[in-house]
């Protein structure tokens, strides 16, 4: 039988994905390679004179390690954690309420839109709003004073705790809606059969949440944790605007990207490149974890069991051998 020439549609596929790869190459890959290259150079602008580029090897990396970079990494982590914990807790709670058909929440759609709204506001505008609201003579302080809650205006912007809580509150407000919607989708993906079966067996809401919902949405939960972590690593706009780029007080709200921005402002491409490479490595590791989670190699959910089975088999064989001897 003659081999019939088949019509290949594959080339159209390549043509359609070509624009992405071209723009990725120009706008992402080349700058990425260039950043890594520059990180090995001493290259900055001193007033109007350009210094470099001179090859300095790993000097920039060493210098960064001896600078306050790790302190800023700690700041970033703190800001992220105290924002993320309330965010995920509230989001879980809301998601399970909204997804629960029996609760019969009226106007659920309206609430979903409303909790998502803070995310639509520009982060910088939001930060400026908070800056005004929580200034020492601001509206929040005057309300507290008039209600007699406090006797003296609270200096929100003057203490590390105050500024950090404000940043965390803002991040929480902006992102809990987003998490809620995502978790809700996950919860609604749980087969109703399981829930119904559990309920017939007399399972209450509390148990349903902890023994059915939570385990079933674990992949999505981990995913949102990692994505939020990567987002937190890049935290910039809110603390930058709130503290006017200074990370006040005492640089306790200076995040890694604000630190990067400081180097870019000084046109210090070498140092900024080295810092970016550090961030790239950390993000890369986190991305790899996400990849591992989403690329499910245990589709039937029986992998662990099979492994245990194998082990048992092995041991049985061993035993038999021993006995045979």
């Amino acid at each position: 039988m003659n081999k019939k020439k088949s019509i290949s549609y594959a080339k159209w596929g390549y043509i359609f994905i070509l624009p992405f790869f071209i723009s990725f190459f120009i706008f992402s890959l080349i700058p990425l390679a260039d950043t890594i290259r520059l990180s090995f150079y001493e290259y900055y602008r001193a007033t109007l004179k350009i210094v470099g580029p001179n090859y300095v090897g790993f000097q920039n990396y060493k210098e960064l390690l001896s600078s306050d970079m790790l302190v800023y990494a700690k700041n970033t982590a703190i800001l992220w954690i105290i924002g993320f914990i309330p965010q995920i807790v509230i989001a879980l709670l809301l998601a399970s309420w909204f997804a629960d058909i029996r609760m019969k929440i009226r106007g659920a759609q309206v609430f979903k839109v409303i909790i998502y709204l803070p995310n639509i506001i520009m982060a910088s505008a939001f930060a400026m709003l908070f800056f005004t609201l929580f200034s020492t003579n601001g509206p929040v302080n005057s309300i507290l004073l008039q209600m007699g809650v406090v006797t003296k205006a609270i200096d929100f912007m003057g203490t590390p705790f105050g500024v950090r809580s404000l940043v965390a509150t803002m991040n929480f407000l902006m992102w809990f809606g987003n998490s809620t919607i995502m978790l809700m989708a996950a919860i609604m993906g749980i087969s109703p059969d399981v829930v119904e079966a559990a309920e017939i067996d007399g399972c209450n809401g509390y148990k349903r949440f902890f023994y059915i919902t939570l385990p079933m949405i674990r992949p999505i939960l981990t995913y949102s944790l990692i994505v939020s972590m990567i987002g937190g690593l890049q935290m910039f706009d809110v603390p930058q605007i709130l503290t006017n780029g200074q990370g006040n007080p005492d640089r306790t709200t200076m995040t890694l990207i604000m630190f990067l921005n400081k180097h870019l402002r000084a046109n210090n491409y070498g140092m900024a490149g080295a810092l970016s490479v550090y961030l790239f490595i950390v993000s890369g590791i986190l991305c790899f974890i996400v990849y591992k989670i989403t690329m499910d190699d245990d589709k039937t959910g029986t992998k662990a069991e099979e492994k245990a089975k194998k082990k048992r088999e092995k041991e049985r064989l061993k035993q038999m051998k021993k006995e045979g001897k």
Binding site: T47, D237, Q246, P249, D250, A266, N268
Partner: protein, 477 residues
Amino acid sequence: MKRRILSALLTVSMVASMLVGCGSAAAPAADAAAPATEEAKADDAAPAADAAASDEGKVINIYCWNDEFRTRVEAIYDKVVETNEDGTVTTLTDGTEIHWVVNPNQDGVYQQKLDEALMNQATAAADDKVDIFLSEADYVYKYTDAEADVAIPLTDLGIDPDTDLANQYSFTKVTASDQNGVQRGSTWQCCPGVLVYRRDIAKEVFGTDDPTEVGEKLKDWATMKNTAEELKAAGYYVLASYADTFRLYGNSIANPWVSPGETSIKVDPQIMDWISSSKEWLDAGYFDPAVKGQWNDDWNKDMGSASKVFAFLFPAWGIDFVVKPNWDGAEGSWGVTNPPSSYNWGGSYVHACAGSDNLGYAKDIILAMTANEDNLIKISKDYSDFTNNQAAMQKAASDDSFSSDFLGGQNPFTYFSPVAEGIQMAPLSAYDQGCVELIQSSFSDYFQGQVDFEKAKENFETGIKERYPDITEVVWP
């Protein structure tokens, strides 16, 4: 996330452009008028410029940080025909177009954009080259530097500073000169600082609101401290913030922050004095503890009628531009008197840029804006600038028609002029803006008790090395 960062940057620049009027040069409280003596001179200059203009490029690019310079050029430059609606292009009589390239001053954005353009000056097309640019007193030195050679010496333009700019205040000429004393820029404004006080508080505490008697109570730091104690007993603060007094100390430093050819920052003893007295005064309760630095909401509110703050230290522009919009009480509640020491604050310098193809116009505009006495008086009248002309300003000081209703009928020029004459310009360096900004923000934490003195010093060192990678060490007195 990228989008968020982008939008953040856009907002930063938007906000910065809103605020830019504050920090930079600006619109003052003066209503000057004085007879013209330099008409002939300006007329002489004009034909020469015309001749040069004929073979010049058709586009003049002017780099600046707000519309202040444009509005003044429109008002006084006789070759201006019209400006388009969004204020980006001004057409001149011979069809030449001025293109205004505006970037906000705050946080070094303007300098960054200008630096980029200057780097590309050699390769840019003739109509894209920078022809004229402005700089502020805080970083003028960076652009007048002889080695960088980006601002053309005035003599090369055909302007003789000794005759053409004879009436300018000499410190403005020194400020615009490079390390060899060659003047490379010129300004139309002069920003002598004064002390603006609340008349009602003065009456209540001192029993008088007369500027001379109040001035006597604030004539030097020691006297002012006693006055502060007196005000404190009555429940008032003498000033709003420690940042308010910074220019008074910062302008009397003996050596520049960075000496030419060096890569170390030397902190002047005057700055240390500012730090120790600020800490002392804040702890003693002479400043409003709620205010951190300047240009923020708390600071602005302290200019309102509900505030307990007695006085502010401002140059001419501050009264009209900052105090007035924030004041919500009766007209005539403020007065002007002498500051505890002479100082100046701000000022926009005009430079012709090396490589420009419009040098004739550059000369013409610089002369019209900064040398022509008629024009300067018009600027003083229309925009209440304290302009850079000794003769005219001296006349204004003794002319009662310059009195201001906002200041209770007082003529502020009587206080501006002597201060302007007493200004000794501090030695400048190209690093001034960063040093001034960072020393204030680093020690802010120290004043408020967040960090100890050593940690504040350390934070300043970290910050300054980040901002200027070529700085290797900071030397403390």
